[in-house]
């Protein structure tokens, strides 16, 4: 039988010494970590499959490069992002760094909830993309573009006649009809209030594509402009053509696309990136949207510093770090087909393996923010009224002209109080 040996005094002392040293070392590390300024960075992207993890790793590189600051990513889903963050910011708190949509950016700037960055960034020091102009409000900069995503037609060549994308709207409708059947749909978009934000994005694709704008250069409302009416009429044509999986949400029809159950959809570069990463076996292609003009909506998100931050210097350090060429290149690569704040040339390998990237890049000059220009902060209210009126066209058979005349009247009276 094995007897338990009693440890000698020396061994006990030696063991105790090691334990004390280890405790001291661990304590020192804890203290070192506590010395660091802990910042939070809220972004919808953190909650996305694939891209979220890669973005966290990118932020991790910043943390490794710093001795005085550490950023903790906060994932908030798209549907509740603005409400959550704005409630916190309004209460004098919130994340130190916020990646926000353009609509929210205008509201935050108007409420002075984000810091001006003019003292931090000199425009001449960076090769900012053309979309950067939307970051300047009243001659001042309050953010830098974090992600710029354009909209093009994504298609499954195997599901289209001759494997070619449609060249115009009539051809597009014919292609969608020809592709529909046996559980396959020709096209998909959103047309329900349950997906209001996405519905608005898809509607912008049609309206902008037909040459319509929600407001003119002077910021006057043009909801019932003939070109806007044309765009809405086209939306209705597609709705009635029997080519869309009605009621399927974006998550569902995007999955249908990569399972080859959907021939075409108009979507942003972020989605193309997700297809490429999540379904590498899918050989999809991209083409300009099949509308009379190349204009399409554009998702532009800004990287901002919360005015309530207690770590202004560290937050500024992160913004400057994010704009460094190497970090911009990594960010653009992890985001997929999106662009970033500065011009980053794609590698020849990337362009060869992902030919659709070129289509997205070529769409950049035609991108228009999905906000009502000149009335940016009022966009959510205007959006609600416009979508309700468009639903009357889709569901109730109301004429597009009447619906948009009513929308114009309602917005003027109710939102702009004119």
């Amino acid at each position: 039988m094995h007897s338990l040996s009693i440890p000698s005094r020396r061994r006990i002392l030696r063991g105790s010494g090691v334990a004390v040293a280890a405790a001291l070392l661990a304590g020192h590390r804890v203290l070192r970590a506590q010395d660091k300024a802990r910042l939070s960075f809220a972004a919808v992207t953190f909650s996305e499959a694939g891209r979220g993890e890669r973005l966290k790793a990118w932020v991790g590189k910043f943390n490794q490069s710093q001795t005085a600051a550490e950023i903790q990513p906060i994932a908030i889903p798209f549907g509740s992002f603005a409400k959550t963050v704005f409630t916190q910011m309004g209460g004098g708190a919130g994340p130190d760094l916020v990646r926000m949509d353009l609509i929210d950016y205008y509201a935050a700037v108007q409420a002075r909830r984000v810091l001006a960055l003019d003292d931090l960034l000199k425009a001449e020091d960076y090769r900012f993309t053309a979309s950067d102009r939307h970051m300047i409000i009243g001659g001042k900069r309050y953010g830098v573009p974090f992600e710029i995503s354009h909209y093009v037609l994504l298609y499954n060549p195997a599901l289209l006649k001759g494997g070619r994308p449609p060249a115009d709207f009539d051809e597009f409708l014919a292609s969608a009809k020809a592709a529909t059947g046996n559980g396959v749909y020709g096209f998909a978009y959103r047309a329900t209030m349950a997906e209001g934000s996405g519905f608005w994005q898809d509607l912008c694709s049609f309206v902008y594509g037909f040459g319509g704008r929600w407001s003119d250069a002077q910021g006057r409302l043009t909801l019932n402009d003939p070109k806007v009416i044309e765009g809405v009429a086209a939306y209705k044509k597609v709705y009635d053509a029997g080519v869309i999986p009605k009621g399927a949400d974006a998550a569902t029809y995007r999955r249908m696309f990569w399972e080859r159950k959907l021939a075409m959809e108009i979507d942003n570069g972020g989605v193309a990136g997700i297809f490429s990463q999540q379904a590498p076996q899918l050989s999809f292609a991209a083409a300009p949207a099949p509308f009379p003009t190349r204009a399409q909506g554009m998702v532009l998100t800004a990287l901002t510093i919360n005015a309530n931050t207690k770590h202004k210097a560290a937050a500024q350090a992160f913004v400057k770090w994010a704009l460094q060429p190497g970090n911009q290149k990594q960010l653009q690569e992890l985001l997929g087909a999106s662009s970033v704040a500065t011009v980053v040339d794609r590698s020849p390998e990337d362009l060869a393996s992902k030919p659709w990237l070129k289509v997205y890049d070529e769409q950049a000059p035609h991108g228009i923010p999905q906000v009502v220009a000149g009335l940016e902060a009022k966009t959510p209210e205007i959006q609600q009224i416009v979508l309700e009126q468009v639903l009357k066209v889709l569901q109730g058979g109301m004429a597009p002209k009447k619906a948009l005349d009513d929308a114009q009247r309602l917005v003027l009276a109710r939102v702009l109080r004119k």
Binding site: A82, K83, F86, A111, K246, G247
Partner: protein, 290 residues
Amino acid sequence: MALYLLLFQGYPLVQELYLSFTSTALLTPDQHVFVGLQNYIDLVTQEDFRQVLLITAIYTVVCVVAAIALGLGAALLLDAPFRGRGLARALVTIPWAAPPVAVALIFVWIYNGQYGIFNHLLGALGGSARLESWLDSPALALPAVLLTTIWQIFPFAAVVILAALQGVSSELREAAVIDGAHRLSVFRAVVWPSIQPSVALLALFLSIWSLRRFDLIWLMTQGGPIGSTNTLVIELYRRAFVYRDLGQGAAVGMVGLSIALLITVVYFRHMQRAGHGKTVARRAPGERQR
């Protein structure tokens, strides 16, 4: 207790009332502009808001009446002795136990125009009866949301009424049957007077819960299409957090609170009139639990 009420209920209420008289943005809640009754005037003069009140009234009344009717039916069935009664009682409570978020997501698929089981059933029943869409249709969205809500809340009504039925004296029931009373007469003369206070309290709870139900409606329709499921709470959320106008949101909240208070006052007045002191048939001492 008084301090608790003052601190955790009184203060927020006063704060909300004050907010409703101001123009306050979500991002700048510390910057109020006093606008007096303007927010309320805006609500009253908006045709949309009148529709919100109407939808709220329809939603509340139908939810309460249907849940109590179904709950009463289910409770009477579950009160009768049969094999497997315990299991049946447990199974009935499942919809109530399910999280509203899960329920909403499941029913969104059930009502889907192309893949939903509802339309497949309708198609199987009568081919041409297939409907294009439920939640996308202004005519069908409210009935669809109501069906879902009733399916989820009626078990609670059933459980409460079943508990009340346990308190009805079986001796009185038997005496009435011996005297030649029909089932319906027994229910009207013996059972109903006993369970009525519980049903009235249940109606009060269900009314207030229906008035303030948000998750199920928001997840299924966000108040659409074309405002056909837009209730007070959805409108409050939209104004406060989508349009970021806390003043307008607070005004909508005060309207909702006033309606809830009115229902509560009516309930207590009704209970007073019904006579608190009225003797209600109770189980005799020592009577065996059925």
